[in-house]
């Protein structure tokens, strides 16, 4: 053991005067700068939302999984869409071949969305949707689903990920170039603040940056740098900061270094609060509160001895809870092999239920607050992340993306991490040590190739039944609006009502704006 954190910070061997815990002078949870938590009562008032990311195959199949998870005590929904949906393509697009229903549920029109949430009261349950480039279209479909099931869309609650900047640097499901993409995002901020006041309009994500190989410092630095870019973009449109900022939310990874992860969440909270207040002049405390979702680290899961992943997930989930997360997804043990089976998904949910109900951890807010090491590490992460944010902002966030600066920083960390495992400087149980030659076999979830045929058939039927002249008219309207500067949300909403497909809507926008050409960095 080299006594460095996973992010490479040297861990001091004992507490000394330079590590003075200042917790006695630190404000409690719920008080600016919120290092100890964003709410005064935290889990003593209400537990975090247990929100398992799921989706595969058709809307019917995913709807069954949703009902199963709710029956088993999950408290919020989180939707995984397949790649064609995430890329704004219909299931019958040639590029969708082999991909329909694979990593998430296939959605072509609002009819699929209605099927997806069948039997679920959208005024009661909150739904998170991992959708970015076409986020406006999917949120419009969700709102129309509410509308047509008799729920006032003002009551819908949840989160759309809607974070395009991290797609360019880490996750890869981008469609349009940055400028029109940022406009879609600020259009969403504006429209939602009036019409869907309970919806979080963005989930600014460090999760995927970490999954792409970054360190904890890079995770908070690049996430907050992106967040600052969104704030500036919204301010440029003339919106008041306290109008949109209370609906900004965040999404972080819970990785292997338990104490460093707890410190990371604390540091991120404090940094956001001070930035919003001191640099951007927010007045409403809600604008300063960094509320976040956490998912345990997918890339930490091993294909070898997969049951061990249950233990990894437990420790990671515990760091998120001790770090004050607002909602949590715990990964399934079989995710290095395939999409989770019902059984694996249930164990993952049970893991957080055991933390919530049996461990006693939620009883005290920020239980590590005041620990020499925790306070020192929180300060250290903050200092290093601030320096990195400055480096990015000296280049400019969009320029740093175009130049591939952020991508290269992440790749370098990913490569060094892999080398440290290959050289056994870092031990991963079952992978580079404690290896078992004989591996058991597991039942895996498979998605049938016929899903695409079913989707294509359904889409064809809808296109035959709908008023095609009305669809054509609204798509033309969208095309000219995309060239101008009016808010696009109301037009997209109307296109969705008229049963335009996701491929038609985003295809119209692609025609006007073109596709993003990524710099190639290795």
């Amino acid at each position: 053991m080299d006594n460095k954190t996973l992010s490479g910070i040297d861990v001091p061997d004992k507490s000394d005067a330079s590590m003075s815990p200042s917790v006695a002078d630190q404000p409690q949870a719920g008080v600016y700068p919120f290092t100890r938590g964003v709410y005064p009562t935290m889990y003593r008032g209400r537990k975090w939302t247990m929100r398992q990311y799921s989706g595969f195959s058709t809307a019917e199949e995913t709807n069954k999984r949703f009902h199963l998870l709710l029956e088993r005590g999950q408290t919020g929904l989180s939707t995984a869409f397949d790649l064609p949906t995430q890329m704004g393509l219909d299931s019958d697009d040639p590029l969708s071949e082999g991909e329909v229903g694979k990593v998430g549920v296939a959605i072509d029109t609002v009819e699929d969305m209605k099927q997806l949430f069948k039997g679920i009261d959208l005024s009661k349950i909150s739904t998170s949707m991992t959708i970015n480039a076409p986020a406006m279209i999917l949120l419009a479909m969700y709102a129309v689903t509410a509308e047509e099931s008799g729920v006032d869309p003002k009551l819908i609650s949840g989160t759309i990920q809607n974070d395009i900047l991290k797609e360019y640097v880490a996750r890869g499901t981008y469609i349009f170039p940055p400028e029109p993409s940022m406009r879609l995002i600020t259009d969403i901020f504006e429209y939602c603040s009036e019409n869907y006041p309970k919806f979080n309009t963005i989930s600014i994500s460090g999760y995927h940056i970490r999954e792409a190989g970054s360190t904890a410092v890079q995770e908070i630095a690049f996430t907050l740098a992106n967040a600052r870019e969104y704030v500036r973009a919204a301010l440029r449109t003339g919106m008041d900061i306290d109008k949109f900022a209370p609906r900004l939310s965040f999404f972080f990874n819970a990785h292997n270094d338990f104490l460093e992860e707890v410190a990371k969440f604390r540091a991120a909270r404090r940094m956001w609060a001070t930035m919003m207040k001191e640099e951007f002049g927010a007045k409403n405390e809600k604008s300063m509160k960094l509320r976040f979702h956490t998912q345990t680290g997918g890339s930490t899961l091993t294909a070898q001895q997969p049951e061990n992943n249950i233990v990894r997930v437990t420790l990671q989930a515990l760091s998120a809870v001790m770090g004050g997360t607002q909602s949590l997804h715990t990964n399934s043990m079989d995710e290095a092999l395939a999409l989770p089976t019902d059984k694996a998904a249930t164990i993952a949910l049970r893991t957080q239920q055991i933390i919530a109900e049996e461990s006693g951890v939620p009883n005290f807010i920020d239980p590590f607050g005041g620990s020499y090491y925790m306070e020192w590490l929180t300060d250290k992460l903050e200092t290093e992340a601030r320096a990195l944010i400055k480096q990015v902002e000296d280049i400019g966030v969009l320029e740093a993306i175009n130049q591939g600066f952020i991508q290269r920083e992440i790749q370098e960390s990913a490569f060094q991490y892999q080398l440290s495992i290959d050289k056994k400087e870092r031990i991963i149980v079952g992978v580079n040590s404690y290896i078992q030659e004989e591996e058991d076999t597991y039942d895996l979830l498979t998605v049938d190739e016929s899903v695409r045929d079913d989707q294509v058939h359904k889409l064809k039927e809808i296109k035959e039944k709908r008023d095609n002249a009305a669809v054509k008219e609204i798509l033309q309207k969208l095309e000219s609006a995309a060239k101008g500067s009016d808010n696009l949300f109301p037009i997209v909403l109307e296109a969705v009502r008229r049963r335009a497909s996701i491929g038609e809507i985003s295809g119209t926008l692609r025609k006007v704006w073109g596709k993003y050409q990524a710099p190639i960095t290795i």
Partner: protein, 133 residues
């Protein structure tokens, strides 16, 4: 002509996960090979086209999206159609064992899952990919 092994690392399909592809690309390059990384969202057609233009000896495909069966097979088929079967295909990603076995039977020379050390992949490529002068 140079005797360096030339490898195209390709990301076919809509999958955006390229951490593995980039780490492997760099390891092969550090081991002295010529490596061309295609970037994301390539079609099998564009990857084969790049491999032909670049006189590649091998194509390494990375797929984590579950679309491997379709995408690997399509690349093999295209290479056959272009009479370019001397370009060997290997790959990695989240590929269940049963699928990996089937793909190997159909001509993929190696599939590497999560946790594979880089040295193992480098050694495999050196041993199994020939430079045709």
């Amino acid at each position: 002509m140079s005797s360096k092994i030339r490898v195209v690392i390709g990301k076919p399909g809509l999958d955006g996960h390229d951490r593995g592809a980039k780490v492997v690309a760099r390891a092969l390059r550090d081991a002295g090979m010529e490596v061309i990384y295609t970037g994301l969202h390539q079609t099998p057609e564009s990857i084969v086209e790049i491999a032909l233009q670049e006189d590649a000896n091998a194509i390494g495909l990375s797929v984590l999206s579950g679309a491997h069966n379709h995408l690997f097979r399509k690349v093999l088929k295209l290479l056959k159609e272009k009479n370019a079967e001397e370009i060997v295909v290997f790959g990695g990603g989240i590929i269940p064992d049963d699928d990996a076995k089937d793909l190997m039977k159909e001509g993929v020379i190696g599939i590497f899952g999560p946790g594979t050390p880089l040295d193992e992949i480098v050694a495999f490529v050196k041993d199994n990919v020939k430079v045709i002068e």
